[in-house]
Symmetry: C2
Subunit: 200 residues, 2 copies
Amino acid sequence: MSVSPFAEHTTRLTRALTTALVTERDDAALAARVAEIAAQMAAAAQDPEAVELADPHPVRAAFPHDITPVSSARNPIAPPLAIRREGEDSVATTVLPLQYQGPPTRVHGGIIALMLDQVLGDASSATGLPLSFTRELTITYDGATPIGEELRIAGRIRSVEGRKRFMEGEITVGGEVTVRAHGLWIAPREQSSAAASLQR
Amino acid sequence: MSVSPFAEHTTRLTRALTTALVTERDDAALAARVAEIAAQMAAAAQDPEAVELADPHPVRAAFPHDITPVSSARNPIAPPLAIRREGEDSVATTVLPLQYQGPPTRVHGGIIALMLDQVLGDASSATGLPLSFTRELTITYDGATPIGEELRIAGRIRSVEGRKRFMEGEITVGGEVTVRAHGLWIAPREQSSAAASLQR
């Protein structure tokens, strides 16, 4: 399974539009960029089957219909992260544009939490353990995490006790840790009763 | 100050496009919707000054150029939240569409953290205290927070010790708490040295 090239192409254009909206304060310049992107969208929509992408976002077999706002190739909110395994760790690298900014020049603290939640969640079930859900997540902001520079987001299992997985992770920029995370993920008693189990 | 009606109009169309991308799995149906939205964008871009909005998103005087991915009227990533004061609390209500989903039917845990970080941050400086930054944030997920239902996100100061503010908050759905949050926000020694202060 993979995301349709037309959907992914439209998603990329939507991300470009988002960047333009937060970057251009002058309406005339913004309008020119919007017209340009809208024309590209309309052209692709006229013949969606003709769209080809040389470099599609990697989609894991387990998540063919991934629409999460972190890793999906068809959700413009997602950077998107491509989460991979490196030994015991789940890891992603990304460079975030201006639409993810909080304080000037820095990634929004909540966007940092969003990425870490996804990467730690991935690590919690990556080793063949059943899917689990976040019960508690703590993010410690040690330093500035910059917009426009490469971030490395990593997470791993610290320990497992029955259905509980104690997770940890961090974001590093140029080898320096800027943010640390730890948390508890719990696997439902039965996979099918996930919703009921988490409602308590 | 307010956001330009053209920028806000384009942002709303971009959010509609995002919803379509995560909702329509059939490329033909998606292409029809993309063509429709692209035409509306192009029409507005031809004469941006003519765009009028009956119901602009409220923009606080202190944040005229707000581009955060939570509350900005011109950032399509933002729902957007309109954060208001209710007594001692900073409060926002919102209904989230499918692009904010994590597990099926539920809001992504990281999106929950994103909204709480913003609302607690707002509360940390809403009473005239200087602007402060998140040092640590803990989110506890007690139950399912649904997509498509009204969420109430609230935050307040629990205590202040010098430059430290201990914050707390929660999300409620139909009067039931689904998520709790607590954290530490710290005001920089001097407003102008915010970046340097947080780098340690």
